[in-house]
């Protein structure tokens, strides 16, 4: 990784001048929107989960798999219809953090690169955004499991 270049005094001075006019991210508004939209996603997910519990032989534990699959399917439709990016601009983390955001990252990349062919386009670019989530997700799970194993071995837990 390359280091950030040091700023010269001139650049520092300009930085301060520019900050004066820069529109700040409306953090509080973004948080509220993320809260409501993220919550709404979860309500839909909960409804789907109960749907599987009521009509199929799924328990609360086993219903999570088909629920996630359904949510990602819905995210796929919304992405394809061009709704999800607008929703993302409105809700920010509210639509990015749930599993639908992960689905959107994969699907949007797949759509974007289909003009380059299925193998070199879709295949190699599909995970260009989500790939690092997978990598670091698996890696951190490994580290946590390792620590837990050591602690159990040492008799701490």
């Amino acid at each position: 990784m390359c280091a950030k270049p040091k700023k010269t005094p001139d650049q520092e001075q300009y930085d301060q001048l520019e900050k004066k006019y820069e529109t700040k991210r409306p953090v509080l508004k973004n948080c509220l929107r993320a809260f409501w939209v993220g919550g709404l996603f979860c309500i839909v997910g909960q409804a789907i989960s109960y749907f599987y519990i009521y009509f199929f032989n799924f328990t609360e534990q086993t219903a999570s798999n088909p629920t996630v699959a359904t949510m990602i399917f819905i995210a796929m439709l919304l992405t394809g219809f061009g709704v999800y990016d607008r929703l993302g601009q409105f809700a920010g983390a509210g639509s990015a953090v749930p599993v639908t955001g992960f689905g959107n990252a994969v699907i949007s990349a797949a759509i974007e690169h289909r003009t380059e062919g299925f193998v070199l386009g879709v295949g190699s670019n599909m995970f260009k955004l989500a790939g690092s989530v997978l990598l670091f997700g698996v890696f951190s799970a490994f580290v946590v499991a390792l620590i837990k194993t050591i602690l159990i071995y040492m008799g701490v837990i």
Binding site: M1, C2, A3, K4, P5, K7, T8, D10, Q11, E12, Y14, D15, L17, E18, K20, Y21, E22, T23, K24, R25, P26, N30, T79, G80, G82, Y84, D85, R86, L87, G88, Q89, A91, G92, A93, S95, A96, G101, N104, A105, I107, S108, A109, I111, E112, H113, T115, L129
Partner: protein
């Protein structure tokens, strides 16, 4: 003729006899829809990729300019153009079908004025009788390369800008005494880097470059800002515009607020979701060759200074934590 440090004066006053401006659906809903010659209904423009649609934009603008001037492509000696895509392929591919000897230019969003300045220089010194110059950008193709996939639901900060889907081309010829707008001077800018690293704040990064070029233009030409009816920047957006104004004020160059406009703000309506404004190589090209020249022809403006600003970054330099180098070129356009 070189005047001052970095400016050219075009004593022969090359004339812009015709222009062609094309745009996309988002621009059709914008402020300046009436000033476009050709507006496409969807981003694909009948092609099977956005990059090919990008080529259609550039080609359409050039052909429209030729048609309006009632000229054949064999009458034109050179084609100077560029865009933002890797290796400027959309422009090169339109040069392939135009079959005009071609200079590919890259100055990011400042390409439009780089082309106009160089074209005027050629015409002024008899290097050509007629040249076409233009620039284009396509929202989906550019976003794909520089940012995230089009459908990705990431939240853009309020400093971000919307890449214009559009192209503008101008046909420049030797002055024949007609009643067409002429280019009288150009100032070539130097690369200015004020250490901004945020690729979602182009306006803030480019403002110093714009201010530098504008300041040097007035120094070289030894004129006052009031000489021009309007000083127009390319795509500084809301944040860059006010920052550039303040920078100029600090250098002792007072420009009234209403005399200092920005193409990125002019092109879209207030309620369109473009955050800070429009950007892209097609932004300055389509607004100048459409809206602004139309206003000049209607007599609303006599003399304008067009300053196209460009951020010379690539996704790679951003990821390697390089700050954003910026440039601006200015061309003075007057009615005879």
């Amino acid at each position: 003729m070189l005047k001052g440090k970095q400016s050219w004066v075009f004593s022969q006053r090359p004339a812009i006899i015709a222009t062609g401006v094309t745009g996309g659906p988002f621009e059709a809903n914008g402020n300046l829809a009436d000033d476009f010659d050709l507006l496409h209904e969807d981003l694909w423009m009948g092609e099977d990729s956005y990059e090919k649609a990008h080529r259609v934009l550039m080609e359409g603008a050039s052909r429209t300019a030729l048609r309006k001037a009632e000229m054949e492509k064999k009458d034109v000696q050179f084609f100077l153009g560029g865009d933002l895509i890797n290796q400027i392929t959309p422009t090169s591919l339109s040069a392939r079908s135009l079959e005009i000897p071609y200079f590919g230019l890259f100055g990011a969003c400042s390409t439009s004025m780089e082309g106009l300045a160089l074209g005027s220089f050629m015409i002024n010194y008899g290097g050509a009788n007629a040249v076409i110059t233009g620039a284009a950008s396509h929202n989906a193709a550019v976003e794909k390369q520089f940012r995230y996939p089009t459908e990705y639901g990431g939240q853009k900060p309020p400093t971000a800008q919307w890449t214009v889907t559009g192209a503008g081309a101008a046909l420049l010829v030797q002055n024949n005494g007609g009643n067409d707008p002429v280019t009288t001077a150009a100032t070539i800018g130097k690369v200015v880097d004020m250490g901004v690293t945020d690729p979602f704040n182009m306006g803030g990064a480019m403002a110093p470059a714009a201010a530098d070029t504008i300041y040097n233009h007035f120094q070289d030409m030894q004129i006052e800002p009031s000489y021009y009816d309007l000083i127009v920047t390319g795509d500084l957006g809301k944040i860059g515009r006010v920052t550039a104004l303040e920078l100029l004020k600090n250098k002792g160059l007072i420009i009234p607020d209403e005399q200092f406009q920005d193409c990125g703000i002019l092109i879209y309506k207030e309620d369109q979701p473009v955050q800070s404004g429009g950007s892209g190589a097609g932004c300055s090209a389509s607004v100048l060759y459409g809206h602004l020249l139309n206003r000049m022809k209607r007599g609303e403006l006599k003399k304008i200074l067009m300053v196209a600003t460009g951020a010379l970054l690539s996704p790679l330099t951003v990821q390697q934590n390089e700050s954003i180098p910026c440039i601006a070129h200015a061309v003075a356009i007057e009615m005879p």
